[in-house]
Symmetry: C2
Subunit: 252 residues, 2 copies
Amino acid sequence: MPGPIQAIERAAAVLQLLARGRLGLGEIAASLDLPKGTTHGILRTLRTVGFVEQDRASGTYRLGAALLRLGTGYLDANELRSRAINWADALAARSGEAVRIGMHLDGTVLVVHHVFRPDDTPQMLDVGALLPLHATALGKVLLAYDATVAGPLAQRRLASFTRRTVIAPAELARALGEVRARGWASEAEEYLPGEAAIAAPIRGRGGLVVGAIGVSGAVDRVLETSLRPRTGLVAQVSDAARAVSRDLEDTG
Amino acid sequence: MPGPIQAIERAAAVLQLLARGRLGLGEIAASLDLPKGTTHGILRTLRTVGFVEQDRASGTYRLGAALLRLGTGYLDANELRSRAINWADALAARSGEAVRIGMHLDGTVLVVHHVFRPDDTPQMLDVGALLPLHATALGKVLLAYDATVAGPLAQRRLASFTRRTVIAPAELARALGEVRARGWASEAEEYLPGEAAIAAPIRGRGGLVVGAIGVSGAVDRVLETSLRPRTGLVAQVSDAARAVSRDLEDTG
DNA sequence: AGCGACCGTTCGACATTGTCGAATCCCGTC
DNA sequence: GACGGGATTCGACAATGTCGAACGGTCGCT
């Protein structure tokens, strides 16, 4: 019976839809092109298992609390993350900047770990966030080393976030070639104004790139006055990436 | 057709199982008492939608990255959390302790928000974690004010975490009465050695308790020398809880 | 090396199961 | 009090998922 189970596929589609905000039954049914009755049955089931909740007053549906457990369950099971946590802490301490670990998910960068910059300033935790591949240092690393990531992206029109975002395919390809040559990627105000980042590839068994680790922070702390990434930071990031890779290749 | 959809219920059960660690097909099929063929079909579908991943070598299954997106999607949609974030930051800054916000989920406390203690020490983020109801300040608040939470718990045998954990039903009932009388709950080394906590209820529309907010930290910072919670901290926590409650009742 | 046991995967027939669209109910609004 | 939009229920149909046995690969043991 090598065919996906229809009901489960549809339920998953409903959840993916709801991930972007609360919706009414009608909207969901219309988006998925399903009869309302069918959609309601799916929703009712997802509610009994705690994957969606329903607003008593408006009747609209939203994601449920049980999903949070599953999300953190994924993080616990994620090998890349668990191996990288200790090195990420060390990198944050040594560099004084925020550290992020990302992997490819469906044309974006999924942040699987985030260590705050070691100071008292309030910061948003963005584990679980999706970042653009072409406008972040983490994403460029993934693009540069994984053809299965880069291929589909070439078809899409790239979004521009700041004046510096590289959206021209030729220019991006050149930048990715540079990443491969140097072994690390950087980004300066291409995603968020005033922020720059450096990232390096994490390799799993067989040398395949399975993720990326990098630091990000204010432009004047991450870059030299020449606007090139600080050499010391680049070395720290590369060392951390190599350390994680060694961990991954050896064990598990 | 008011009956849950079988296939989806089963898929959800598979996910809940996998939340506790990676498993093989046989183990999953046995745990759920399903034929291997059926289980495999469910797993295959969950894999195509990214909810589970499979280890190439061992063949074992684990949760997939797409679930992380859904988990954070839940957090974004969660009204209690979004209203409480600002007040939680303020409470952490004023009290100098870590702040947590919890709600009831399925006989436990689900941590939906966590602000680190404002200093440089490395701390584990535990958004998504499940804490025991009877051994934490957050949980005692939920138990004290919500009969639908307290009822089922009376049936279960309570787990003991430290020497101080209260597991005798009578003693716990007395403590909950005290919580109701004072309007806040506390806990000293009942869950983690060396840690104490204070929490207060968050009320939604209609005055129902929908969650709890509280601080936790080293015993000697949270408690007076008399072992009673520091009066100033109790006031700060209660004020924060009231502020969040006002936010929730007014809008949405 | 060869054998055996285990585990994930595939297959096809069966009937259980989910699907569908119309009809109903409920609520807020005019 | 009637209208409208939404969620919800219903029952017949057949498409759909289920089941258990058989396949094929891999690891561990002899």
